[in-house]
């Protein structure tokens, strides 16, 4: 098992390099550079940047070198344990992603923290709705829960989330004024106690989390339904029933436990989603997360930030796949690889 894990880890190295090289090449292929926009979008500029200054600036930041040289430099920085310095914000990328006080604290209000929090809430909400529906649907195919799953949840799935977001803002936020809809906390946050702060953040997260959650419900419900149905139809369940075990025991002790196996795959699919922010939902609700940061970084050609977010995404995807595989191996001896 340990050898297997190690081998998988080693295999991840080249994959990781390939991913970052492709991302690097892609951002370099896009015209412009971190300073080309600044040449003209300048406040206070009666004239644009002096061409010599501009060349000098590119040189100083190594942006006049071929892309593979720049990639090599970036890899060297990464190897030294740093994500580099953001071109536009002019502070370490680790601070940009993980917060001002990194590694001291304040993680929750950093882009990564904010996105993790929002996505975690959204995922929990999604699972809380979809799992029971999927479960009941499998127990009674064609029953009320099944029709709900295949009808209503699919209808939700087809609604574009920017439309739902605007609708929620106008109805819940403006018309009924039940929930706040901008940012992740109110102005009075600093003066609140711990529990009041938690409630404040949850209230701010409610609408964006709902927007992120409803789309995946149909998928998860279907997934659960199929996994449980398959498990219910298998030989060991028939055997358990034949042995005269009570139905509850058959369901919870045998069928449901085995239905968890494919759910590990689902876990591997959901985990990476936790760190990637939704550009649309985050910007409509002014949620200070990774999606907005990424968008901004792309517009300002802030290469170190784009790359750091991509690296983070790559690491999490590779990590979750590995985790899912290992969990599979641990849970099901038949698929254990040697």
């Amino acid at each position: 098992m340990a050898a297997y894990a190690l081998r998988r880890l080693l295999l991840m190295g080249p994959t990781f390099l390939l991913i970052t090289a492709v991302v690097f090449a892609a951002v370099k292929l896009a015209p412009g550079n971190p300073f080309s926009a600044a040449r003209t979008a300048g406040e206070g500029a009666v004239r644009q940047m002096n061409p010599a200054d501009y060349q000098d600036l590119l040189h100083r930041y190594g942006l006049d070198r071929p892309w593979y040289v720049q990639y090599g430099r970036w890899l060297a920085t990464l190897a030294s344990g740093s994500l580099g310095i953001s071109y536009s914000q002019r502070r370490p990328v680790s601070q940009v992603l993980f917060g001002e006080a990194f590694p001291g604290g304040g993680f929750l209000s950093s882009p990564l923290g904010a996105t993790l929090l929002l996505n975690l809430l959204a995922t929990l909400l999604m699972l809380a709705v979809a799992l029971p529906i999927g479960f009941s649907a499998a127990l009674k195919p064609g029953g009320a829960a099944d029709r709900l799953a295949s009808g209503f949840l699919y209808a939700l799935y087809s609604l574009p989330n920017f439309w739902v977001a605007v609708l929620l803002i106008l109805v819940v936020g403006v018309h009924f004024r039940i929930l706040p809809f901008i940012g992740m906390r109110s102005e009075a946050f600093a003066s609140l106690g711990f529990w009041e702060r938690a409630v404040d953040v949850l209230r701010h997260a409610a609408l964006p989390a709902l927007c992120l959650a409803y789309g995946g419900m149909a998928y998860v419900a279907r997934f659960t339904r199929r996994a449980l149905l398959e498990s219910l139809g298998s030989d060991f369940v028939r055997a358990a029933r034949a042995r005269g075990l009570p139905e509850g025991r058959v369901l919870w002790g045998h069928a449901a436990r085995n239905a968890l196996l494919p759910m590990i795959t689902l876990l591997g699919l959901l985990l990476p989603g936790l760190v990637s922010g939704s550009v649309i939902v985050e910007s409509l609700f002014a949620w200070p997360g990774m999606g907005q940061l990424f968008m901004k970084a792309v517009y300002s050609r802030d290469y170190p930030v784009i790359l750091a977010e991509s690296v983070l995404g790559a690491v999490v995807v590779l990590g979750s796949t590995l985790l899912a595989d290992l969990l599979y191996g641990a849970a099901d001896p038949r698929v254990r690889l040697e």
Binding site: G44, R47, R91, E100, P111, V174, S283, A286
Partner: protein
């Protein structure tokens, strides 16, 4: 202040849902809106009976900003949003007043020597930094040195001092600027926010320390407001500086909330989270019928210091665009008034040249070109472009009269205008293909002069000098393949070059005006760009704020001095 290409109404998702959904005001009984609902530039907004009362201190003003400030170091910052925040923390030597006349801030007074080469500033002696240390000429010299240090990322400040030979401080409260040549536009460069040397000093040539100074995130200035906190991605908070030399501002706090979406902005204004919102023409049509909205708001409409144009590439790559007659015909064929009326809801002014309509530099005798497709057709015929093969498109020598117009994809509004213009041109037998490009790509293509035509916006600076846009030296390509200036279409007219250089050396307002008016006339004939219109902007401010006023010169509600410093909130409404 700024002179640059700009993206108007950068809106990623054109959500028009709001118009149909309406707001909380829908329940109010239908009533005709008051006759004059928006305040004209220069007109101060007061609640009835408050106009004559003495201002009191107190209150918080919360405004939206569309993205996060990049940095709060005024030398390093090059974006508009950073400026909106740091301008209250730092002071410049001079600023522009409501009517675009320079007004002293850190400078008590200034004078230009008779030969036009020296500019002397007399600094105020009663100014101190937020940490209590006194402000002196040393700080001005330091800020200038930082701007000129090639290792400092002062990307957009350095060129404003290109004509400066030296800056000296003969005593702690005097600064003398010497230009290489007499240079009238040079005063405006000193609308430069000054940094405290004792906190930002660094070894010359080691600009990284300056660029990455931790104080860039918690700045210390001399300005009317002091920095309180910056919650990344959420808000920047400032508080009144009780020791401000001009007397403390009336408002206690300024809160800048980061709100990327215009739709969310209006919604947040309605619920009271924000005290101000900008209004697009669609949003205005929606809220102008909303009594509750109007009763709680002062609405302002003011011209913006920016205009829109289609730039033609005159470098010879598109033969027919090299013909002035053709360019005039194309401009005549565009129904610009139709676009202003139907798409901008009337919120725009047609213009005839690259200057601010209503500014002293704008020649009122040059009328904007009318919409005249018949005249356009006649001019095209005259230039030899006729439809010889009967395909509905004009051609000459086997080449069709067709070109491609680049447009930044983010500015959804631009594409809507182009759809109209495309039809207009089709009517006179010209084919315009539209190509949407991401803003960075758009800038890259236009800077390298790799385009046939492009639709863009231009922000006007504090000084009307049209050097970068029209001087032929600014239309040359450098060895690197990038244009030397912003004259992307490579327009060149020796007479215009001469007049531009002349007005740069002319300090006498009347003489300078004459030169600029002549430039305006020539350019209107040459049509290096099709000048479309200048837009007006609308904003609503909660009407508990008294003495709110938009600038007559297009500086809006905030970009002039003292603007916000004169606002106040009656105690009973705080």
């Amino acid at each position: 202040m700024n002179r640059r290409r700009c993206l108007f109404g950068l809106c990623l998702f054109g959500l028009t849902l709001l118009a149909s959904c309406g707001g909380s005001g829908e329940k109010a009984p239908p009533a005709p809106p008051p006759a004059a609902v928006s305040k004209a530039p220069g007109e101060a907004a007061f609640l009835p009976a408050y106009e004559k009362r003495a201002p009191v201190n107190g209150g918080t003003f919360t405004r939206p900003i569309p993205v996060e400030p990049v940095t709060l170091n005024p030398v390093v910052a090059s974006d508009q949003v950073s400026f909106l925040v740091y301008k209250w923390i730092f002071d410049p030597l001079i600023d522009m007043d409501e009517k675009m006349e320079p007004t002293g801030v850190l400078a008590r007074s200034w004078e230009v020597s008779p030969d036009g080469r020296n500019l002397t500033f007399h600094l105020r002696e009663d100014v101190s930094w937020h940490d209590g240390k006194p402000f002196t000429a040393e700080d001005v010299l330091f800020t200038y040195r930082a701007c000129m240090d090639p290792t400092v990322d002062a990307v957009n400040k350095r060129p404003t001092f290109a004509e400066v030979q030296s800056v000296q401080a003969p005593d702690p409260h005097t600064v003398v600027v010497t230009w290489k040549v007499p240079y009238a536009p040079g005063l405006a460069a000193w609308n430069l926010h000054i940094l405290p040397r004792h906190l930002y000093d660094y070894p010359p040539g080691k600009g990284a320390a300056f660029n990455q100074n931790p104080l860039n995130a918690r700045p210390v200035g001399t300005g009317p407001f002091r920095f309180v906190e910056w919650r990344r991605g959420e808000a920047v908070v400032l508080e009144a500086n009780p020791a401000y030399f001009r007397g403390r501002p009336h408002l206690d706090r300024l809160v800048f909330r980061i709100l990327p979406q215009a739709e969310t902005q209006l919604a947040a204004y309605r619920t009271g989270t924000l005290d101000m919102t900008t209004l697009s023409s669609e949003q205005w049509e929606e809220v102008r019928k909303d009594r509750a909205f109007l009763e709680g708001s002062s609405v302002f409409e003011y011209p913006a210091r920016q205009f829109f144009y289609i730039g033609w590439n005159l470098d010879g790559s598109v033969p027919f665009l090299g013909d002035r007659k053709v360019r005039k015909a194309l401009a005549l064929a565009l129904n610009r008034k139709g676009v202003v009326d139907r798409i901008l809801g009337g919120h725009g002014t047609l213009l005839s040249g690259p200057f601010y309509p209503g500014g002293w530099e704008y020649n009122p005798a040059v009328a904007p070109l009318p919409y005249d497709p018949a005249e356009a057709a006649r001019l095209l015929d005259e230039a030899g472009w006729k439809d010889t093969d009967g395909d509905g498109l004009r051609d000459r020598g086997g080449k069709p009269c067709a070109f491609e117009c680049l447009v930044p994809a983010e500015a959804e509004m631009f594409s809507r205008w182009l759809e109209v213009f495309q039809q207009d041109l089709r009517k006179v037998g010209v084919d315009m293909r539209v190509r949407k490009l991401e803003w960075g790509v758009f800038l890259d293509r236009t800077h390298r002069h790799r385009f046939e035509a492009c639709l863009s916006g231009w922000s006007l600076g504090d000084d009307p000098d049209p050097f970068q846009l029209l001087h032929s030296s600014q239309g040359k390509l450098l060895p690197s393949g990038v244009g030397a200036g912003q004259n992307d279409g490579a327009y060149s007219n020796p007479e215009v070059d001469r007049l531009i250089e002349e007005q740069q050396r002319t300090f006498d307002r009347e003489a300078r005006r004459r030169a600029l008016w002549r430039i305006h006339e020539i350019v209107a004939e040459d049509q290096p760009h099709a000048y479309l219109f200048a837009s007006t902007q609308m904003a609503a401010v909660r009407n508990r704020f008294q003495n709110v006023k938009a600038s007559r010169a297009g500086y809006g509600l905030f970009t002039w001095y003292p603007s916000l410093l004169e606002w106040w909130v009656p105690r009973e409404l705080q």
